[in-house]
Structure formats: structure tokens, C-alpha cells
């Protein structure tokens, strides 16, 4: 499908290398290199046309585009791509096809392609989803692909995740506590493992945070993912010092912590790992109340 691409990239790279190689290339050579790249893309596009004609169906995609570095692309717009549909095609497959055959500047993140790395969360047909997990056949066409809402767009479908990571780190997402005897393994009961099982599944995709409009309105709100991460450690019996639990609760109980959640369930709806986020937040609210009612 995309045999053209390595070639084009190779050519583009080599011409770029030559340019940086202290102007050894004459203007004519540069023009020729550019022509070669253009030709390669024309070929790729032609091939795409042929494939579309041959394919039984073509998916229409509307993709959000924005590039701060290119004048004329700074105003966001939607580009349309027609991609030959194949059985089992995911949104990510289609995006890659569009990038490889139509526009090499189309930018998006992805890595594992199997719902493990969390890097390709996007806003597909009005909902936060992992593109590699979302089947084209499950969506209504034309498929509209946008970057995650409520996060600044860096380029095309890529958003700035810094704030999300900051919130995640703010709940101290790592084991603490001194109770482990040196050299001995710390065991966890089966029940406790079951209890925190779902909360350990988070892949830091940011879909939940992006879907939460409380988080959108309050930049300091920890957000569902961070609270879930805190739940994972708070509920873990291996962190059993009272002081530590108190410390974790203090982080969660702050003004912009668990109490901001207004049980809209948006996070739970979109989480690609089916983590019951709202449930975990509510449970922590109850823990907070219990710890404050001393007669409990």
C-alpha cells in the first residue's frame, strides 16, 4: 500500500541533507530534487486514486489541520481525505494512509498501535477515542478527526500534554512507605489486587481529562486520571502507614481535588481501558469524609 513512502522520505531527506551540507547543491540540483519529490508524491496520489477506484468503498475523512509554522495554515481548517476502505481498518490506519499518500505533513502521534501506549487519543466523531482501537466500520462516515479538546494544539492532531502530565505527577504516582522489610518481597492479597486491578490499567492517554468539562473550566482540578492514579496507591494495602494515607488524602481532598467531580461520567464513558473512573472518585470522596468525621 505504501511502498512509495520510504522512497519519498528518502529522497526528501537526502535533498534536505544536501541543503544543510553547506550549499554544495546548485539551484538547479535543488530544483531537480524538488521535482523528484513532487513526482514521487504525484505517483503516490495516483496510486491512491487507483486503489480507491479498485476498492469497493472509500471512507471520507475530515481531518483537523493547523500548523503554526506555515503561514496560511495558522488558521485551523478541515482537510478531506478519501481512503480506500479495508475490512478491519482503524482510524489510525486511515490517517496513516492519508499521510503516506496525500500529505506527508499530516501530523499525529502513535506508537504501539494496539491500545497500549496511549499516544493516539483523538477526538473522533465527537468522542475521545484511541484511533488504533477504533474501527472505521463502527463509525458514521464521513469520519471527523480532531485533536483532543481542551488541550492546546501544537500541530494538526497533536496536543500539548504537559498539563496532563503535571497533574498526573502531582499525586505522587509511585510507591512510598518504609514498611517493607529489607530484601523481603511485599505481598498483596488476591482481594486487594482485585480491588485495584482496574485502576492500574491507565495508559495515560488523556482522553478522560479531555472529556471532562469540569477539568476544562478549572485548570487546577487534578482530573480523573490523576485521581485514579492516587486511588491505585491509596487502596493498595502495601502502602499501609496511616501517615502516608493521610498524606495521600490531603492531596486528594484539596479544593481542586475529588470534590470538583460533579459525576458527569464523561471520563468513564471515554476511557479506552474501561476504568470506572467516576466510581473511584466517589469512593475517594467517601474516604475523605470518613477521615474527617473522627467519630466514624
Amino acid at each position: 500500500m505504501s511502498t512509495q513512502v520510504p522512497e519519498q522520505e528518502g529522497e526528501a531527506e537526502s535533498s534536505a541533507d544536501a541543503e544543510t551540507d553547506a550549499s554544495v547543491e546548485s539551484p538547479q540540483e535543488q530544483r531537480m530534487a524538488k521535482k523528484a519529490t513532487d513526482r514521487a508524491y504525484r505517483d503516490a496520489q495516483k496510486k491512491a486514486q487507483e486503489e480507491i477506484a479498485a476498492a469497493e468503498e472509500a471512507v471520507r475523512m475530515k481531518v483537523f489541520r493547523y500548523d503554526p509554522e506555515v503561514e496560511g495554515k495558522q488558521e485551523p481548517r478541515f482537510d478531506e481525505f478519501h481512503v480506500p476502505f479495508e475490512k478491519g481498518m482503524t482510524v489510525l490506519d486511515a490517517l496513516m494512509y492519508a499521510r503516506d499518500h496525500y500529505d506527508p505533513s499530516l501530523t499525529f502521534r502513535h506508537s504501539c498501535r494496539q491500545a497500549v501506549c496511549g499516544s493516539d487519543a483523538m477526538f473522533v466523531n465527537g468522542q475521545q477515542r484511541l484511533c488504533c482501537k477504533t474501527q472505521m466500520s463502527d463509525l458514521e462516515w464521513p469520519v471527523r478527526v480532531e485533536p483532543l479538546p481542551h488541550q492546546d494544539v501544537v500541530k494538526d492532531l497533536v496536543v500539548d500534554m504537559q498539563h496532563f502530565y503535571d497533574q498526573m505527577h502531582s499525586v505522587e504516582p509511585y510507591f512510598q512507605g518504609e514498611n517493607a522489610p529489607d530484601g523481603e518481597e511485599q505481598k498483596q492479597t488476591r482481594e486487594n489486587r482485585e480491588k485495584i486491578k482496574m485502576s492500574t490499567r491507565c495508559i495515560w492517554c488523556g482522553a478522560c481529562m479531555s472529556s471532562c468539562n469540569i477539568a476544562a473550566g478549572d485548570n487546577e482540578y487534578l482530573g480523573p486520571a490523576a485521581i485514579n492514579k492516587a486511588y491505585r496507591f491509596y487502596m493498595d494495602e502495601r502502602e499501609d502507614e496511616a501517615e502516608l494515607e493521610e498524606h495521600r488524602l490531603r492531596i486528594l481532598e484539596q479544593e481542586h481535588g475529588v470534590w470538583r467531580c460533579q459525576t458527569q461520567f464523561s471520563c468513564t464513558e471515554v476511557c479506552p481501558k474501561d476504568i470506572p473512573l467516576t466510581e473511584h472518585i466517589q469512593e475517594l470522596k467517601r474516604e475523605a469524609v470518613k477521615s474527617n468525621l473522627k467519630f466514624w
Binding site: 503554526p68 492546546d152 500539548d160 460533579q262 459525576t263 466510581e279 466517589q282
Partner: protein, 133 residues
């Protein structure tokens, strides 16, 4: 990063068609809550002008009850209050960790129940209109 683009809040309410049950429940709950607060103040304001004597009080109320729009508004008030109470109960259960898995169904149930109660109340609210209180 040289620059980035903030799409602002436009997507929030411009996308109402994509909202799901929990989001609608939240919006309706806020909305009905504010209406009830607004009503409470109007109620106090109107009644406080009518407490000068039994006569004024009866006149004011009868005057109000003879207006068709007021009767309709009363039905609206009942709908608002009933939904707010039912959804409030739903939220309380959610807070206690009950029925989290069926939160959308309980929202729809609150809507249906509100509708039923309101429809059943119509004859009572519109009774005696035109023929005096």
C-alpha cells in the same frame, strides 16, 4: 513549541448533540437548580407585597391564579422541582456508590417519571380557569 492553538470553549456547548446522559443530567440539574432559586426569590418578593392584610393577600393570589400564563408557569415549576428532586436522589445514590453502572438509565427514568407526574398534574393545575378561582 513556538506557538499553539487554543480552541477555547466553543466546542463545549456547540457540540450538544454529542453529549451523553451524564452530561445532560448535569446540565438539567444546574438549570433546574437555578430556576428554583430564582423562583424562590420571586415568590418571596411577590408575597411580601401582599402581607399587608388578609384581603390583599387573597386578591393577589386570586389575581395571579386567574392568569393563564401563571397556570402554565406553575406546571413548569412542578416539572422543574420534580426533576431536580429525582435527579438529586439519583446523585445521592451515585455518591454512595449505588447504581453507578446504570447512571444513564436512572437519568432517563427521572425524565420519564417527571413527564408522567407533570402530565398527571395538568387537570389539577388548569382546573377552574376562566370560571374564577
Amino acid at each position: 513549541m513556538s506557538q499553539s492553538y487554543n480552541r477555547g470553549l466553543i466546542e463545549d456547548f456547540g457540540r450538544w448533540k454529542e453529549f451523553q446522559a451524564g452530561m445532560w443530567a448535569w446540565i438539567f440539574h444546574k438549570f433546574t437548580g437555578w430556576i428554583l432559586v430564582g423562583y424562590l426569590f420571586t415568590h418571596i418578593a411577590v408575597l411580601s407585597t401582599a402581607t399587608t392584610g388578609a384581603e390583599t393577600y387573597t386578591q393577589t393570589l386570586q389575581g395571579l391564579e386567574s392568569i393563564f400564563v401563571v397556570r402554565i408557569l406553575e406546571i413548569g415549576l412542578l416539572a422543574t422541582a420534580v426533576f431536580h428532586i429525582l435527579n438529586g436522589t439519583r446523585l445521592l445514590l451515585v455518591d454512595l456508590g449505588i447504581g453507578l453502572g446504570s447512571q444513564d438509565r436512572s437519568f432517563y427514568a427521572s425524565l420519564v417519571l417527571t413527564g408522567a407526574i407533570v402530565v398527571a398534574s395538568v387537570p389539577t393545575f388548569l382546573a377552574g380557569l376562566g370560571g374564577g378561582a
